[in-house]
Amino acid sequence: MTALPSQPSATKLGLVIDLDICVGCHACVVNCKEWNTGGHGAALSDQDPYGEHVSGAWLNRIHTFEIVPDGGELVGEAGEARIVHFPKSCLHCEEAPCVTVCPTGASYKRAEDGIVLVEEDKCIGCGLCAWACPYGAREMDLAAGVMKKCTLCIDRIYNQSFEEEDRVPACVRTCPANARHFGDLGDPGSQVSKMVAARGGIDLMPEQGTAPVNKYLPPRPRTTLAAHAPAGPAAGEDTGGATGFLAWIDTMLEKI
């Protein structure tokens, strides 16, 4: 595979990640590690696992951002900072720069479903694909000396030994907040495509020209509580303090 598939299929498997729901619990992160360290491309090594410089190969990580509405659209709690938890794994780009830079052909994008994979036996561990990826989706396994990346759990999604409903990536299967969805983004009628259309799904770093398949659903607009505050005391309801209130109670009791 010198290049991207010359005749890509209409199928574009990928993820849709709902930033309105992700609570940043890292379930997808760890479950991904757990599945993949024993699955396709085993293992995902960890260096100095009980020491000072502990670090390992992970295919999915959650970043936490703080957003201060400086000059931005004021949604909900105007003037207040908010936190957005941001899971990130390979976006399986249509114009995947990691594939075209690969000198050995180890990196490739599957013609039939668009999944970007590494054929580890061919990988020389030069790291150029990681340089070419704007998203940090590729991580070198320092023990194996080869590049690891999200496979979209290719050994799950087509796995005939699984129940149908389990044929989804591990991160999707495990997400407790249901913030992750898997499907064919090349099919406008698919559930994921509909979600993207309805919620204004976004591409990450569109300026990089990578045409990512994975989409992110931005946080939904919010309204303030103060907007619900009654403008003033409701007529006839605010008089008399406790005495007035107890008189009202008496009339209520009679209606019961």
Partner: protein
């Protein structure tokens, strides 16, 4: 162009799947453990499981690394170096159990109270409490005293149930959900599943939390409250609801003590108590016949206001009148509380209006006829789809009991308890306080080789139930159920070491701890506790706490202080039962319990603690553990789970009882019970009948169901106690008008905190210190990917939280000249710590915070001494004292809620000063010896690479 490689896409996960229950936190999810070549290949959520429905969190997904962690204890250990050195000698189980039996046997013969048995993250309290009761020591409790007792006690005393994991919002129907605080390790996956449902449905989610992380990050509205003022916010909401007449009067009359008559006789021993008839039934004023009748009289039309003369000449007023007068006072107006809470008045008004709008304008109706306790038939269930949930933030303040009471009051006023769309009980709750035991452990309850007269923990109905001697001195080592903490329903584990060290109220001989890291993150004043554990008697040269036995699976900071270590198994190697007698996994729609079983066999010389405890019970010849000839009754814990009966037909597990295994709740012992559980995915679920699903506190069908299931032997409906008479009894004692009279020293404290109506007062530490000198609150948040201190030995989880910075509001950073990565001193009235700071805007402006329990002691948990957890991680605990600052009365009061004794570790106040850059956080302690050998590299699963 080379062809695409052929991939093996359909490899089975493993050779075998075993279903058990997770224990990576207190959530208790169902897991499928896939085994391959005898090793654990993969752990995933069990789709059929009612708690997690297939999902699994970060902790659960890291189970492999927990199970194979090098920090696991390998076998029984006897201390060979000084305490805290971590130096041990491996001994046999026979030697270990022999020693433990010898130590505890002599205590039991001479003075059983000299054994203090306290358990930490224990999910087998039905057994551990029974064991301690049979041993005969009054000194037993679990860790609830520094965890959730405020929520539990307030809930049970108010509505007969509690938040935490004992109830849940009606996730499918609620339209407005308000969450106060969070405790990520309880109900964590159900909360995430639920919040996701709400958000997808467009229901509003409001989070009240000083810090906007986790769930708060996705809340539609974040109320960044100043810590410790939640109660004031809630009472302002109550004020607004009353002021705008947006309450459910019908609900109040039906289900609460609002109409109950409160005796109005200031200065007498009855003032503020309920007027009662000769049978002890509370009286109400019947408005048609204009006379006092008992509250349960069918068809009575009660008054909610007025002052009435009773038959005996005394005057009385409906409790609701007192309530309305109190909260309509201007001091609870939103404008009046805005400054204290840090929340704008219009936000409070808006929240109150939204609560009222959803409750009354979006009422839902479930078309399911049902019958109440009076036999009245109703067409269906009326739902007020506003739900609340509350956790850590409220619980760990010294005003937390009253705050939790206030929240229940708010729920009740709008009629949103156990209705469709509201907060719903999970069986065996609701359960009124009357159905709970009183505490046991007075001197007359224990003696040489005698069991205690009853369970240790319970609810005093008044000062007469306190565990004190004639001089008012506490009977328990933790001073639970004394004047210091009268309603300490979960004990005060956080006071045990300090009191035992001081010999106050008396010295002990043996401290027996299970899964509690008291030498580190589970203690306030950690450095002080370490000294107490190391301290020796000047004369004898013996340790002040002579013997410490610790049972745990991992080399923690606490195991380094044990004289004898009883190594526990990992959660995948053991039997457990998550029992209806303790803290089951029920959901609002179903009665549920669960088990664990050894899905892998231990590869070390370790034993499940519960089996060890049964063994010790038999060696000590405790009644209930041996038969008349002294033969052990139970082979091991699995055998106990199946064959132990608490009452006839009622055992640890509710499912698959009876000889055929077809009985639920009550039924004969079924020898095949565990097999049936395993076949069923290690859990049991029994649906609540449709007619019994809501208003369980007053629903005839539910009450009958509960009796049938064996929760009670007769119906136990709950009448919500908005006005809490038991609290008033303590006030009368404190006023000196009712026996037993409170000691002079405790009177002001009780009068200030035992208001029979939900109340708010400033947290005690904040009230005691100079607020200008310590202008900031310092709190912790529980990370979703770490369970207390249990996780740093996990090679995957520790990569997520390797060290913890102190998050500091931007405005505070600017004032103190702090930037990301700078170091600062955090100074409390008790001590100071040096930490690395990180700037944050999405936090209450007067609050600094950090992740809980990431900091570790060097050498503990099988980590390298240079592990960032030890060099850069830190605990706030060093800043918190177990005692309040002296206030000049000659006494040092416990830093606890004065009602329940709940450790008030969220009350902490600090100031922050820029420090010189540092290489490590301070304080640092002498390293403990690292146990076990850790590899330099992990390639888990490499053997399965294709």
């Amino acid at each position: 162009m080379s062809p695409q490689p052929r991939l093996a896409l359909s490899n089975p996960v493993g050779d075998e799947t075993r279903k058990t229950t997770c224990y990576m936190c207190a959530c208790r999810c169902g897991i499928d453990v896939h085994l391959k070549d005898g090793r654990i290949r993969y752990i995933e959520g069990n789709r059929a499981h009612p708690v997690n429905r297939g999902v699994l969190c970060a902790k659960g997904s890291a189970g492999i690394m927990q199970h194979y962690a090098p920090a696991r204890l390998e076998g029984p250990l006897l201390r060979s170096g000084p305490r805290g050195s971590g130096r041990f000698r491996r001994i046999s189980w026979e030697e270990a159990l022999g020693l433990a039996t010898e130590w505890m046997g002599s205590v039991r013969r001479t003075d059983p109270k000299k054994l203090a048995f306290f358990t930490g993250r224990d999910q087998s309290q039905a057994l551990t409490s029974f064991w301690a009761q049979q041993f005969g020591t009054p000194n037993y409790a679990a860790h609830g005293g520094f965890c959730s007792v405020n929520m539990a006690a307030a809930g049970i005393m108010t509505i007969g149930g509690a938040f935490w994991e004992f109830g849940a919002p009606d996730w499918d129907r609620t339209k407005l959900f308000v969450l106060f605080g969070v405790a990520e390790d309880h109900d964590s996956n159900p909360l995430k599943l639920g919040i996701s449902k709400l958000k997808s449905r467009g229901a509003r989610f409001v989070s009240v939390n000083p810090v906007r992380t986790g769930y708060s990050a996705v809340a539609d509205n974040w109320i960044g409250i100043r810590p410790g003022t939640d109660g004031l916010l809630i009472l302002a909401l109550v004020h607004e609801l009353l002021r705008t007449r947006r309450i459910d009067v019908d609900y109040l009359v039906r289900y609460t003590n609002a109409p109950w008559l409160v005796i109005d006789a200031p200065g007498t021993a009855e003032h503020g108590l309920f007027a009662r008839d000769r049978e002890g039934r509370a009286l109400i004023w019947e408005t048609v016949t204009e006379q006092a009748v008992h509250h349960d009289l069918k068809g009575a039309r009660p008054a909610l206001s007025g002052r009435y003369q009773l038959g005996d000449g005394r005057f009385a007023r409906p409790s609701f009148e007192l309530l309305a007068e109190k909260y309509l006072d201007a001091r609870y107006a939103p404008e009046a509380v805005a400054a204290e809470t840090g929340i704008a008045a219009e936000t409070i008004c808006g929240l109150a209006a939204e609560i009222a709008r959803v409750a009354f304008e979006e009422e839902i109706f479930v078309d399911q006829p049902w019958t109440d306790m009076h036999g009245a038939r109703h067409d269906g269930f009326v739902g007020r789809p506003v739900s609340f949930h509350a956790m850590r933030g409220i619980s760990a303040h010294s005003n937390g009991f009253q705050t939790a009471r206030a929240l229940h009051l708010l729920q009740v006023l709008i009629g949103a308890i156990d209705c469709p769309g509201g907060f719903r009980y999970e069986p065996p709750y609701p359960k009124p306080v009357e159905a709970h035991p009183r505490p046991h452990g007075r001197a007359e309850h224990f003696g040489s080789e005698q069991p205690l007269a009853g369970p240790h923990l319970g609810f005093p109905r008044g000062p007469e139930d306190l565990l004190i001697d004639e001089d008012g001195r506490p009977a328990r080592i933790d001073k639970a159920f004394s004047w210091d903490a009268p309603i300490s329903a979960h004990g005060l584990m956080h006071m045990v070491i300090a009191n035992a060290h001081a010999g106050d109220p008396y010295p002990i001989d043996t401290l027996f701890l299970y899964m509690a890291n008291m030498a580190w993150n589970s203690s306030m004043n950690t450095a002080g506790v370490i000294k107490m554990l190391e301290d020796k008697d000047g004369e004898t040269g013996e340790y002040r706490i002579p013997r410490i036995i610790v049972a745990d699976a991992y080399a923690s900071e606490m195991t380094a202080y044990a004289d004898l270590v009883l190594p526990d198994t990992t959660y995948l190697e053991r039997h457990d039962c998550i029992s209806m007698l303790d803290r089951p996994i029920s959901e609002p729609d179903a009665v549920q319990d669960a088990i664990r079983w050894p899905v892998v066999e231990p590869d070390r010389d370790v034993r499940g603690f519960q089996s060890v405890l049964l063994d010790l019970g038999a060696r000590l010849k405790l009644p209930g553990f041996v038969d008349a000839r002294g033969t052990p009754l139970y082979r091991d814990y699995a055998d106990y789970i199946v064959r132990h009966e608490r009452r006839p037909g009622i055992g640890p597990l509710a499912g698959f009882r009876g000889m055929q295994g077809d009985r639920a709740g009550r039924g004969a012992i079924n020898p095949e019970q565990l097999e049936r559980y395993i076949e069923n995915g290690s859990f049991f679920t029994h649906p609540i009948p449709a007619e019994a699903l809501y208003f369980k506190h007053a629903n005839r069908a539910y009450q009958d169901f509960a009796v049938k299931m064996g929760f009670f032997d007769q119906p136990q409906p709950v009448i919500f106690q908005l006005y809490q008479e038991n609290l008033q009894k303590f006030r009368l004692s404190a006023q000196g008008v009712r026996e037993p009279v409170a000691p002079e020293s405790h009177r002001a404290r009780i009068l200030d905190s035992f208001d029979p109506l939900p109340d708010w007062y400033r947290p005690l530490e904040e009230a005691a210190i100079d607020r200008e000198r310590y202008p900031l609150h310092a709190i912790t948040q529980r990370p979703a990917a770490m369970y207390h201190s249990w996780g740093s030995m996990n090679a995957w989880l520790r990569q997520i939280h390797t060290a913890n910075p102190l998050y500091v509001p931007g405005s505070v950073c600017d004032a103190a000249g702090l930037a990301d990565g700078d170091w600062a001193w955090v100074i409390s009235p008790h001590g100071r710590i040096k930490v690395e700071v990180a700037r944050m805007e999405a936090v209450n402006g007067a609050t600094v915070w950090t992740w809980n329990a990431i900091g570790k002691r060097k050498g503990a948990w099988g980590l390298d001494e240079n592990a960032p957890e030890a060099t850069k991680g830190f605990l706030l605990n060093h800043l918190i004292h177990e005692l309040l600052p002296p206030k000049g009365d000659g006494l040092r009061w416990s830093n606890s809620d004065p009602v329940t004794g709940q450790a008030a570790w969220y009350d902490l106040r600090v100031r922050i000063e820029k420090a010189e850059p540092g290489a490590h956080s301070e304080p640092q302690f002498r390293p403990v010896e690292r146990l076990g050998e850790a590899p330099d590299e992990l390639r888990y699963g490499q053997e399965w690479s294709s």
